[in-house]
């Protein structure tokens, strides 16, 4: 028995002639902080969609805690603790921030089929929702309608909802996009405060974030895994530099290594 929480083995997917996942194998251990990087259109978001069940697998197996969930519906996977966020915010725009999180809390608690009892009496659930919002600094906007939130706050809310689902594995698709680099810290702090046993897969184009967050980095190129390794290993690889990081990325990264 390994301590692999999530195992994706030999995943395949293509859109017509375009192969977006070619024999992708990826393992996440309990508590692992794993980053997924790669050029645009490499298939990173597709991989998250395959793992979360939004797209049907073209081949391969997905094991969560040893159980094959490759054929389960997205909602089953969520219930089993595999939770994702979206690259482009995907929220309940007409509801308030609190209601958004409450929905997640109530689903997670299995309380969403309570037909008779008024929601406001579920103080335990409401408190939990508030608690999560505070954690991400969204307490002040709890009663704001989501479609009136500034973009950055919507990104934080995405995370809040994910946390409310008490994930075992968290898949984050560019969670810091649109948040100023100076503020991405809030988000990373929130991730740091998560229970350590949660495994997180983070897609990110900002190398500063990757470096601060990840212990392992996987590089995906044209649907294939190019390499997996520690941040330093990956970022000093010639190949990764040429297809993804570029010269500037390299120098900028170098200067950061120097800082660290």
């Amino acid at each position: 028995m390994t301590d692999n929480l999530l195992e994706a083995i030999g995943l395949q997917k293509s859109f017509g002639a375009l192969k977006v996942a070619q024999d992708v194998t990826l393992r996440l251990r309990v508590g692992e902080r794993h980053a997924l990087i790669g050029p645009n259109g490499a298939g990173k978001s597709t991989l998250v969609a395959l793992l979360s069940g939004v797209l049907a697998l073209g081949g391969g197996r997905i094991l969560l805690g040893g159980r094959d969930i490759g054929r389960s519906s997205p909602s089953q996977r969520t219930r089993e603790g595999l939770v994702r966020t979206f690259q482009v915010s995907n929220l309940f725009g007409g509801l308030t921030v609190l209601e958004n999180v409450y929905l997640a809390v109530s689903e997670r608690a299995g309380a969403s089929f309570r037909l008779w009892r008024p929601a406001y009496r579920n103080t335990d659930l409401i408190d939990r929702a508030h608690e999560i919002l505070e954690q991400l600094g969204l307490g002040e906007v709890a009663r704001t309608r989501v479609d009136q939130l500034a973009y950055g706050q919507q990104r934080l809310l995405e995370i809040a909802i994910a946390l409310a689902l008490r994930p075992k594995v968290l898949l984050l698709d560019e969670p810091t996009a649109g948040i100023p680099s100076t503020e991405a810290g809030i988000l990373l702090d929130a991730l740091d405060r998560l229970p350590p046993e949660i495994a997180i897969l983070l897609i990110e184009h900002d190398m500063q974030v990757v470096r601060r967050f990840a212990s392992t980095v996987t590089v995906l190129v044209e649907g294939k895994i190019l390499m997996t390794g520690s941040p330093i290993e990956v970022m000093s690889s010639e190949e990764v530099r040429s297809v993804y990081l570029g010269k500037a990325g390299q120098t900028r990264f170098a200067s950061e290594v120097a800082h660290a």
Partner: protein, 334 residues
């Protein structure tokens, strides 16, 4: 598909305010009993449509199921009540419950198939299912009486005490009681976790399923609950008119009820209570004045509500009240 829901500015997680409008409406409804004793037939008819519209609000307003085929459940309820009575089961209250259950069973059976759809495909399929049932009822004359309808049924007095009469006294109070009961039930339902989950489904179905919720099951349950109430309304029509005609299954009925709900305001239950009397009274009056005018009037009302008074009567009332109290609901322009 998105639908416009008139905003109350109240979060589902606040303690619900006393449903003032509902209390006022029910008080008015009771007053009608004393003030217009010679119009109770119409009043009962209005009550039945308010109930039908309420059922639609559950499906449309709460769960976002846009349907042009809700008459299917109304009709099944009506025919069931008719068949029961013709077969000798004349007790009205159990008749209503059984009819509602039959309608709910149909919705429960259909739901898993058609509720996968959204948007115009859903509209089309509900429409087609409605037409299909109508045509089937037309063909199955041995069962439905076809164009002649089901007739010659009688019902025993309500609770064994209240006799039916052409003055509509019993009819009206009986309908009103069912309406109040259903309204209370729906109110509980919409303020519950389930109600909030349905709003989530309406807003963003994919996201909801990624919260781990069984969206199809939630929708089907909502659909069946809604169908139950629609079936109850249909059964009440059968019982108060002692007749069931094919038109209970017609597309016109389905459209009528959508129009009633939209005039009243979608999504807050009151819409049904407000829309039914306004719609049917205007219909009644304008027909006495000039029958052709009715189509034009209702046409203009729809255009008006959609272009100017979004949110229907409920929405307008709500704004007026909010303005008079000097505060506006969250996010609405002043």
């Amino acid at each position: 598909m998105k639908i416009t829901v008139s905003s109350t500015g109240l979060s589902a997680l606040d303690r619900p305010r006393l449903p003032m409008i509902a209390l006022v409406v029910f008080a008015l409804a009771l007053a009608v009993f004393f003030v217009f004793p010679d119009r109770l037939s119409l009043a009962a008819y209005i009550g039945i449509f308010a109930l039908f519209a309420l059922s639609l609000d559950l499906a449309l307003g709460m769960a976002g199921i846009v349907t042009l085929g809700h008459a299917a459940f109304f009709g099944v309820g009506a025919y069931t009540a008719g068949w029961l009575a013709l077969a000798g089961w004349q007790e009205p209250i159990t008749g209503v419950v059984i009819s509602g259950l039959c309608a709910a069973a149909l919705a429960g059976a259909l739901g898993p198939f058609i509720l996968r759809l959204t948007g115009l495909p859903l509209v089309m399929v509900t429409l087609a299912v409605g037409v299909f049932l109508f045509e089937a009822a037309n063909k199955l004359t041995w069962l439905t009486g076809g164009d002649d309808g089901l007739y010659g049924m009688t019902f025993s007095p309500v609770l064994g005490i209240f006799e039916w009469s052409i003055y509509g006294t019993t009819d009206y109070l009986y309908v009103l009681a069912w309406l109040a009961l259903a309204f209370y039930g729906c109110h509980r339902l919409t303020t519950s976790n389930f109600g909030l989950a349905l709003r989530g489904v309406r807003e963003n179905r994919l996201r909801m399923s990624l919260l781990g919720s069984s969206v199809l099951a939630q929708l089907t349950l909502a659909y069946a609950l809604s169908a139950f109430i629609a079936g109850v309304a249909g059964a009440l029509l059968a019982q108060t008119s002692e007749f069931v005609g094919l038109e209970v299954l017609s597309v016109e009925k389905s459209i009528d009820v959508v129009v009633i709900l939209v005039l009243g305001g979608v999504g807050h239950l009151y819409g049904a209570l407000l829309g039914a009397p306004v719609y049917l009274l205007i219909k009644d009056m304008s027909k006495e004045w000039n029958p052709h005018a009715w189509m034009i009037i209702i046409g203009f009302m729809l255009v008006f509500v959609m272009l100017v008074a979004r949110g229907g009567i409920h929405g307008v009332l709500h704004k007026v009240i909010a303005r008079s109290r000097g505060k506006l609901p969250n996010g609405e322009p002043r």
